[in-house]
């Protein structure tokens, strides 16, 4: 142990002295410092240098970082794009950006202008910055092994055409997005052609379109995030092997809002999430082989909406409470299965006391089939007539699909 400790210490000293020997300098930028402009400091700096920027407002147009530098802000220096330019563009590997305020990037319909863009790099770190009123905030293109941590991103988006995404990842891999707080953009987190990345512990809320949006991005993990109050909730499309665990999808409540919209998602896991007050908690279109397990569905409009194109989805050990419709579907056939879920609308009994109901539960009600065929009948929701219809159907099940039923409904809320 002691030997190992000594080795570690000497290695550390070696590295430090090497750093000094190569001359890892620290350049300071402020109104009375050696450098008064960040531009000049970046140009003078050698690869590996650290640039310390003190508080103040810097309006320097577009800043290009093309060598591995570490930019460190002290007392929240403000980089202002004046509503015209991309503020910071990174084209070198291993650039680190910490402690800055980025504001007022340009808006363009031709280019994706961002507050901070990393283009074709590896090992970048964007940590502890604040972004406000930008078109795109953090934009990673063709990059890998980067991390985006603990940033505070607020947008002032009012229309989808004039706004970008808070965190936009394109054609990248092995990116870690952690602990960011995102609000007021078009999409909170957007991924396209992204592999082997993780999105954890973020809060993404009040966006115009989606809190999380990804396409053609396989093998990614989403854990412990909160996606709430976005215009259309969360939409994930055309991807495989996605893991979504312990997230919270809440208050995506509007006429076209989804807690989680799965469009052609295959071989994925949706587990232990909470869906609270969404118009449609899980909407599944063309998705196959998905494990939906241990989730809690609370007070949603439609808890699960399965289109006929969904197959081999397994719903197990979920809890359904206070939802207007537990399951709705467009078809009378279904190749999905439900088992051992808790349904608060279950009216069966458990004579052998094994906590499993003795008669199956049919989560699709006659009224929801009626609404499926004649959408306007929704105006009769919760009317005495609706309850009469559902009661009649429970006594004489004729119309509701036999294929969707939980053979082993759990008794007693887990």
């Amino acid at each position: 142990m002691r030997f190992a400790g000594r080795v570690a210490v000497s290695l550390y000293l070696l590295v430090v002295s090497l750093g000094l020997a190569v001359g890892q300098r620290s350049l300071e930028v402020c109104s009375g410092c050696e450098f008064t402009s960040l531009h000049a400091a970046v140009q003078q700096a050698a690869p590996g240098d650290r640039i310390l920027v003190r508080g103040g407002v810097y309006r320097e147009g577009r800043l290009l970082v093309d060598k591995p530098l570490s930019l460190l802000g002290e007392n929240w220096p403000v980089l202002d794009g004046g509503g015209e330019v991309e503020i910071l563009t990174i084209t070198a590997d291993d650039v680190q950006v910490r402690g800055f305020v980025f504001q007022n990037s340009g808006v363009s319909h031709i280019e994706d202008l961002a507050a901070l863009k990393a283009d074709n790099v590896s090992g970048c770190v964007v940590e502890g910055n604040r972004f406000s009123n930008n078109f795109f905030a953090i934009y990673l293109a063709g990059s890998e092994h980067c991390s985006v941590r603990n940033n505070e991103v607020t947008g002032a988006a009012t229309s989808e055409a004039f706004s970008g995404n808070a965190i936009h990842l394109w054609n990248s891999s092995s990116i870690r997005v952690e602990g960011n707080h995102l609000s007021g953009h078009r999409d909170g987190i957007y991924l396209e052609f992204v592999q082997d990345s993780s999105v954890t512990d973020n809060i993404s809320e009040d966006h115009l379109r989606y809190g999380l949006h990804f396409m053609f991005s396989s093998g990614n993990e989403f854990r412990r995030n909160t996606f709430q109050r976005s215009g259309a909730g969360v939409a994930v499309m055309y991807s495989k092997e996605t893991v979504m665990v312990n997230n919270r999808f809440a208050d995506n409540w509007g006429s076209a809002a989804y807690g989680l919209l799965l469009k052609e998602i295959n071989d994925s896991t949706v587990a232990d999430n909470t869906f609270f007050r969404n118009t449609v908690a899980i909407y599944s279109d063309g998705s196959n082989r998905i494990e939906v397990t241990g989730n809690e569905f609370l007070r949603n409009g439609h808890a699960v909406r399965l289109l006929a194109t969904s197959m081999s989805m397994h719903f197990t050990h979920n809890t359904f409470t206070g939802n207007t419709f537990d399951v709705t579907t467009t078809t009378s056939r279904s190749y999905n299965d439900f088992a051992e879920n808790y349904w608060d609308n279950y009216r069966g009994f458990d004579l052998d006391r094994d906590n499993i109901g003795d008669v199956p539960y049919r989560p699709v009600r006659l009224f929801s089939m009626t609404v499926e065929n004649y959408p306007q009948t929704m105006i009769l929701l919760r009317s005495p007539l609706e309850q009469f219809l559902d009661y009649a159907e429970r006594l004489l099940p004729v119309f509701t699909p036999r294929a969707i039923e939980d053979d082993r409904p759990v008794i007693g809320k887990p």
């Binding site: 509007g254 006429s255 105006i379 007539l385």
Partner: protein, 263 residues
């Protein structure tokens, strides 16, 4: 107006003394208290209480209203021999029956919610809309009961008509509405559907409560016309004012009958 208040006071305290109004209050207290105690989720409790508002309140208002009308007929006849104006007697009489009923609903339902929800404000609009809807339904059906009573000398006939009105407005109307939707499905019927639901006080009060809950988003999901009407303050204002029309119209008709009636 002084006379109206006097007649109302008489009716009010007379009815308060009767055990039916007491039973009615306790019924609401037990049901709402039970829903909140054993159900847990206050939203679910509101939805279950909504069923009472839609089914029980109209029935009880009609039945109690009618029987009270016949019960106090002699008294009204006696009063009318005095030099008092007929509208004043009529209004006092109506308020004397409608207010105790409304009060016992408000106490029976409001009290448990007030006790259980003391700490949490989030569901306040839902509970408030439930109480408002219940109150208005109460006033609507008491007015209808009066009108039916005044228009029919025969007690049994009036009871049958009242039951018919109740069944028609709670079930048959919605059934016809559903038939209409199914038949006219390929036409743009959203607007007429909204108009048709404004015509039924029970549908109206249901929509007023559900606007605070799930129907807004779910209807918006089915069509933009609904969304435009129902998602706005305009929709709420429209529904509430239609309910008020539903109180005033039967009252005016009943008043006309009352003025002309030869007791």
């Amino acid at each position: 107006m002084n006379e109206a208040v006097k007649v109302m006071k008489y009716g009010f305290f007379d009815l308060l003394r009767s055990r039916w109004i007491f039973v009615y209050t306790v019924f609401f207290l037990l049901i709402t208290g039970g829903l909140l105690t054993f159900g847990g989720d206050p939203n679910q409790a509101v939805l279950s209480a909504l069923n009472l508002v839609l089914l029980v309140i109209p029935l009880v208002s009609l039945m109690l209203g009618l029987s009270y009308y016949y019960y106090t007929r002699d008294f009204v006849e006696l009063i009318l021999t005095q030099p008092v104006s007929r509208p004043a007697v009529f209004l006092g009489h109506y308020a004397g029956i409608a207010l105790p009923l409304a009060l016992s609903f408000l106490i029976g339902t409001g009290l448990p919610f007030a006790v259980y929800r003391a700490g949490n404000e989030t569901d306040a609009p839902v509970v408030f809309s439930l109480l408002l809807a219940g109150l208005l339904v109460n006033l609507v059906f008491s007015a209808l009961a009066f009108w039916i009573g005044l228009a029919n000398e025969e007690r049994v006939r009036a009871l049958v008509i009242a039951l018919g009105v109740w069944l028609g407005l709670t079930m048959v109307y919605d059934g016809l509405l559903m038939g209409f939707i199914v038949l006219m499905q390929s036409y743009p019927i959203e607007r007429s559907l909204i108009a048709l639901s404004l015509l039924n006080p029970i549908d109206l009060s249901r929509i007023v409560v559900l606007l605070q809950l799930d129907i807004a988003a779910l209807l918006g999901y089915t069509g933009a016309v609904f969304q435009r009407f129902i998602g706005t303050a305009w929709g709420v204002a429209m529904s509430l004012s239609s309910l008020v029309v539903w109180i005033v119209l039967p009252l005016l008709l009943a008043l006309r009958t009352f003025r002309r009636k030869d007791f």
